[in-house]
C-alpha cells in the first residue's frame, strides 16, 4: 500500500464515519421524537434510564397497552441502533486516523496540524462516550454528543483540511505523543463533562420554570444530582490529565524545543486560563452559593476556553509558537 493510497483511505474513512455518525444521529432523533409524547413514569424519571423507552411502560388513557408496548419497543430499537451506529462510526474514525499516520513518510503519529488534532479530538470525545455509555448510562447524552462530533468533524474537513505532510522539526519529538495525547484525552473528557453541565442547566431551568414535566427530552434527563455527579466525574478525570499535559509535559517539551519552559505564548496562556477555570469549577462544587448552577456555568466557561484555545486562538493570534501554520517562519526552525 503506497502513501497516496493510505491518504485516500484516510479521507474515505473520515467521510464514511461522518456518514455513519449522521445515520446514528438520525436514529437518535427518531428515538427521541417518538418518546416526545410518552409520559415518563415515576420510576423512570427518578433513575436515569438505560435505554430510554426500554423501561417506560406507557399506559395512557388514549391507547391500548399493546400500542404503547409496540412504540416502546420501536423507540428502544432506534436507541440501540443509534448506539451501535455510533460504535461503528468510532471504529471507522479510528481507521481514518491510523491511515492518516501511515500516509506520512516517514510514518508518524497523526498529530501534525489542526486537521489532525481536530480529527483526534472528535474521536476521543466519541470514544469516551461509547466507552462510558454503560457505566454512566449515557443514553440521554446520545443525540447531543453525536451532533457535536458530527459538527466539529465537518468543520475539520471543510476548513481545516490539509494534505499529509511530514512533521515540522520542532514537532518531531516523542514529547509530541505524550503531550498531545494527554491534552486531547483531557479535551474529550472536559467536552463530555461540559455537555452534561449544559444539560444540567437546561434541566434546572425547566424545573424552575415549569416544575417537573411529564414527558419530553428534558423530563427524561437524569435527576439534577445525577447530572451534577456525572459532570463532576468527567471533569475530575479530565483535570489531572490536563494538568499533566499543560503543566508538566508542555513545559518540559517547551524547554527542550524553545529554551524556556514557560513562554507566555498565547496557546500556553489559554491552556493556563482553562486550567484556572476548571480549578475554580472544582472548588465551586464544594462552596455554598456556588454549588449546582454556578458550578455548571463555570464548567461551560471552561469548555469555551478549551475549544477557543484548541481552534480559535490559532486564527486570533499570530505570535503563537503553537500555530502550526506553514507561512511566516521568520528566523526560527521552531514551528512559529
Amino acid at each position: 500500500v503506497t502513501d497516496v493510497q493510505w491518504e485516500s483511505l484516510s479521507n474515505w474513512a473520515v467521510a464514511a464515519c461522518g456518514m455513519v455518525y449522521f445515520l446514528a444521529l438520525l436514529a437518535h432523533l427518531v428515538e427521541w421524537a417518538s418518546l416526545r409524547k410518552v409520559p415518563v413514569t415515576a420510576g423512570a424519571a427518578r433513575e436515569s434510564v438505560d435505554v430510554p423507552g426500554g423501561v417506560v411502560v406507557a399506559t395512557g388513557p388514549d391507547g391500548p397497552a399493546d400500542d404503547a408496548d409496540d412504540s416502546a419497543r420501536r423507540t428502544a430499537f432506534f436507541g440501540r441502533l443509534g448506539y451501535l451506529l455510533t460504535c461503528l462510526a468510532v471504529a471507522v474514525h479510528l481507521l481514518g486516523l491510523a491511515a492518516r499516520g501511515m500516509a506520512a513518510d516517514p510514518n508518524r503519529v497523526p498529530w501534525g496540524n489542526m486537521y489532525e488534532f481536530t480529527l483526534t479530538g472528535t474521536f476521543v470525545v466519541a470514544f469516551l462516550y461509547v466507552a462510558l455509555y454503560r457505566k454512566f448510562r449515557l443514553a440521554w447524552m446520545a443525540p447531543i454528543v453525536v451532533a457535536f462530533v458530527l459538527t466539529v468533524l465537518m468543520v475539520a474537513v471543510i476548513w481545516l483540511y490539509s494534505p499529509v505532510a511530514p512533521l515540522t522539526e520542532a514537532l518531531s519529538s516523542y514529547w509530541l505523543v505524550i503531550h498531545v495525547v494527554s491534552a486531547i484525552i483531557a479535551t474529550g473528557a472536559f467536552t463530555l463533562g461540559g455537555i452534561t453541565s449544559a444539560l444540567y442547566l437546561v434541566k434546572a431551568r425547566s424545573l424552575a420554570k415549569n416544575g417537573p414535566r411529564e414527558s419530553g427530552y428534558v423530563a427524561r434527563l437524569p435527576r439534577l444530582e445525577v447530572l451534577d455527579r456525572v459532570a463532576y466525574r468527567m471533569h475530575a478525570f479530565g483535570f489531572p490529565v490536563w494538568t499533566f499535559a499543560v503543566l508538566i509535559t508542555g513545559p518540559i517539551w517547551a524547554h527542550q524545543a524553545w529554551s524556556s519552559y514557560w513562554n507566555w505564548d498565547p496557546k500556553e496562556v489559554w491552556a493556563f486560563i482553562t486550567w484556572v477555570v476548571y480549578a475554580a469549577y472544582l472548588h465551586a462544587r464544594t462552596t455554598a452559593g456556588w454549588k449546582g448552577r454556578n458550578a455548571a456555568i463555570l464548567a461551560l466557561v471552561g469548555m469555551f476556553t478549551l475549544w477557543f484555545n484548541f481552534i480559535g486562538i490559532n486564527y486570533f493570534s499570530t505570535t503563537s509558537q503553537h500555530s502550526y501554520a506553514e507561512g511566516a517562519a521568520v528566523i526560527s526552525t521552531a514551528d512559529r
Partner: protein
C-alpha cells in the same frame, strides 16, 4: 475619673458597625481566606491573563511589540501606563496572584492543623437514627448482636476502614488521605511558584547568531540580545566556549511541505571551561546541549554572504561573512555591509540575499524560489557619505543610518544596483573601489538560557499532580453498622455517608449488606457443619 456606674463596656462608645483595628484585620483575613474570595480571585486571574494573549508582549516578542506600538500611536501610551505590554509582570496581575497565594496559605495552614488533629481521632459515633441518612439499609437476622458487630468489624477492617465501637454500633471511616492529597496539592502550588520565581529572578535568556567557523564564549558582551532576571549576577554564568564547526539541513523538494527544511544539525566543539578538554556535540532542534546549569539551543539558521569591499586605494576595508536575516520561508534575507574606513568616502551596502534566485516579470524584481542555496545571489544598493558609526551611539548591524549618505545612481537617475553571484566582483564608479561576493557561510541562531529553580518547579508540579489525584480519587466515607435485639431476632441497620461530594453510596451500602448477610449465611452453614 469616671466614677459613674455603668454596665456598658467601654467599647460601646463606638457607633454601630465600627470595628477596632484588630477586628478589622481579623475580618479582612477571614474574607481573604474564604473560599468565595479564592474563587473570585481564581476567576480574576483567568480574566487578567487574557489581554496578554491578544496584545503583543515585550517579554515574548519585542519586535512585534514595537511594530504594534508604532501602528497604534494613540493607544500605546495608555496601554503602556497600565502595563498591557508586559501583563505578566504588571502590578495588577502580580497583585491578583499574590492575594491568591495569601488566601491559599490562609486556607491550608488551619486545615493542616485540623487535619493533624483529626488524623488520630476515632470515627464519630453513629447518629441516633441511621434511617435518616441518605443511603441506608436494614435487615433482620437470627444472629445475636455481638456476632453481627464482630463480623461488621472484620469486614470493614478488611476494606481498610478505621473502626471504633460505641454501644451497639460500629463506626468506620476511610479515605483520610484525600485531605492529605488536597493539602499537598495546594502546598505544591507554592513550591511551583517559588521555582518559577527563582528562574525569572536569577536566570537569564539570551540569543546570539554564530556563523559557521566562528566561536562564542559565554559572557554578557558576546550576546546579540540578553534578557537577565532582576537579581541575575554575571558571576553566575558558566564559563563555557563553543565553536560552530558545520551546519546541515535536509531540504524537502517534493510533497506538500516542499521547500521546508528538516533535520537541522549544528556540529559544535565545546569546552565546559577554559581548562576543560574539548568535546563535540551535534546540536539539533529538541536536543539542547546542557553545560552546567546552562542549556544551549538551536532555534534558527540563515546565510552570511562573504562580501569584500576594497576602497579607492585598493585596501580591503571590510571582509568576512555578514549574517543576513531571513524574512520568509524561502530564506530571502536582508542585510547591510558597512565600510567605515573606506577612502575617499565611507561605503554602506544594503540589500537582499536570495539562496535560489529567480526573476518575476510581474513585479520586475528578484525573489527566492527555495531556501537551499542552489543559485545564490546578492542584490545591493550602494550608499556613500557619513554612516555615523563613530558617534558613540550603538547601531544595529542590520541597518544603515542613511541620514547623511547619498545613494549611488546611474546616469539616468535609476538606483545603482549590484547583482552579484559568488565569485563575481564589480568595480564601483567614481573610483570608490570594488565589491566582491566571495562565498557563502551558514549561520545558526543559538538561544542560551540559565533557569535556576526549574527542578524545584518540576518537582512541585509533579507533587501537585500526585496530591490532585489523591484529592480527586480517594473517596472519604463513613459507614455505621448498628445491631439491635428485637423480639424475633436482630435488626441490623447499615448507613453510609459520602464526604467527597462525588461518590455514589448506594453501591457501598448494598455491597456491605450483601457481605454481612453472606458472611452470616456461610457462618451459619459452618456452624451446621460443626454440629
Amino acid at each position: 475619673v469616671n466614677t459613674a456606674l455603668s454596665t456598658r463596656p467601654p467599647e460601646d462608645d463606638r457607633r454601630p458597625g465600627e470595628l477596632t483595628l484588630r477586628e478589622l484585620l481579623r475580618w479582612g483575613w477571614r474574607q481573604l481566606t474564604s473560599m468565595r474570595t479564592a474563587l473570585v480571585l481564581l476567576l480574576l486571574l483567568a480574566l487578567a491573563a487574557v489581554p496578554g494573549s491578544v496584545i503583543p508582549q515585550e517579554g515574548v516578542d519585542s519586535l512585534k511589540t514595537s511594530t504594534w506600538q508604532s501602528d497604534h500611536p494613540k493607544l500605546t501610551p495608555i496601554y503602556e501606563k497600565i502595563g498591557l505590554f508586559s501583563v505578566y509582570d504588571s502590578v495588577w496581575f502580580s497583585a491578583i496572584y499574590l492575594l491568591l497565594m495569601i488566601s491559599l496559605v490562609g486556607c491550608i495552614l488551619p486545615r493542616t492543623l485540623v487535619y493533624w488533629r483529626g488524623l488520630r481521632a476515632k470515627p464519630p459515633a453513629a447518629p441516633r437514627n441511621l434511617g435518616r441518612l441518605p443511603e441506608h439499609a436494614s435487615y433482620s437476622t437470627s444472629d445475636d448482636v455481638d456476632a453481627v458487630l464482630d463480623r461488621a468489624r472484620q469486614l470493614l477492617r478488611r476494606r481498610r476502614y478505621r473502626i471504633s465501637t460505641t454501644g451497639e454500633a460500629v463506626s468506620a471511616e476511610r479515605g483520610y488521605l484525600r485531605e492529605a492529597g488536597n493539602l499537598l496539592f495546594h502546598f505544591s502550588v507554592l513550591v511551583v511558584l517559588v521555582g518559577f520565581g527563582l528562574g525569572s529572578l536569577f536566570g537569564y535568556k539570551g540569543g546570539v547568531i554564530v556563523v559557521q567557523g566562528s566561536g562564542f564564549s559565554n559572557t554578557v558582551s558576546q550576546y546579540d540580545d540578553f534578557d537577565p532576571g532582576r537579581l541575575f549576577r554575571a558571576d553566575d554564568m558558566d564559563p563555557f566556549y563553543f565553536k560552530v564547526d558545520d551546519f546541515a539541513a535536509d531540504w524537502l523538494t517534493s510533497g506538500p511541505r516542499a521547500g521546508m527544511a528538516r533535520g537541522f544539525t549544528a556540529g559544535l566543539s565545546y569546552q565546559e571551561d577554559l581548562d576543560a578538554p574539548e568535546k563535540t556535540y551535534d546540536l539539533k532542534v529538541n536536543h539542547p546541549l546542557t553545560i552546567g546549569d546552562t542549556d544551549v539551543f538551536l532555534i534558527g539558521h540563515g546565510y552570511a554572504p562573504v562580501i569584500t569591499i576594497r576602497d579607492g586605494k585598493g585596501n580591503e576595508v571590510t571582509g568576512g561573512p555578514t549574517p543576513f536575516l531571513p524574512i520568509d520561508q524561502t530564506f530571502q534575507s536582508i542585510g547591510v555591509v558597512k565600510a567605515q574606513n573606506a577612502e575617499p568616502t565611507q561605503i554602506g551596502l544594503e540589500g537582499e540575499f536570495y539562496p535560489t534566485v529567480a526573476f518575476s516579470k510581474q513585479t520586475g524584481s528578484y525573489y527566492s524560489l527555495f531556501g537551499k542555496p542552489v543559485d545564490p545571489m546578492v542584490s545591493l544598493l550602494v550608499y556613500t557619505g557619513d554612516l555615523h558609526m563613530s558617534d558613540g551611539t550603538s547601531q544595529s548591524v542590520y541597518s544603515l543610518d542613511k541620514s547623511d549618505t547619498t545613494m549611488l545612481t546611474k546616469k539616468n537617475g535609476a538606483p545603482y544596483r549590484l547583482d552579484l553571484r559568488p565569485g563575481q566582483s564589480v568595480k564601483l564608479p567614481h573610483g570608490l573601489g570594488t565589491v566582491s561576493f566571495d562565498g557563502l557561510r551558514p549561520w545558526v541562531k543559538i538561544q542560551i538560557s540559565q533557569t535556576p529553580g526549574k527542578w524545584i518547579a518540576l518537582t512541585g508540579v509533579v507533587l501537585a499532580l500526585i496530591g490532585l489525584l489523591g484529592s480527586l480519587f480517594i473517596r472519604p466515607r463513613r459507614v455505621w453498622v448498628r445491631a439491635r435485639r428485637e423480639r424475633d431476632g436482630t435488626l441490623v441497620e447499615v448507613a453510609a455517608l459520602d464526604r467527597s461530594g462525588g461518590g455514589d453510596m448506594a453501591g457501598v451500602v448494598d455491597e456491605l449488606v450483601g457481605a454481612l448477610q453472606g458472611a452470616a449465611r456461610s457462618a451459619s452453614t459452618d456452624r451446621k457443619d460443626e454440629s
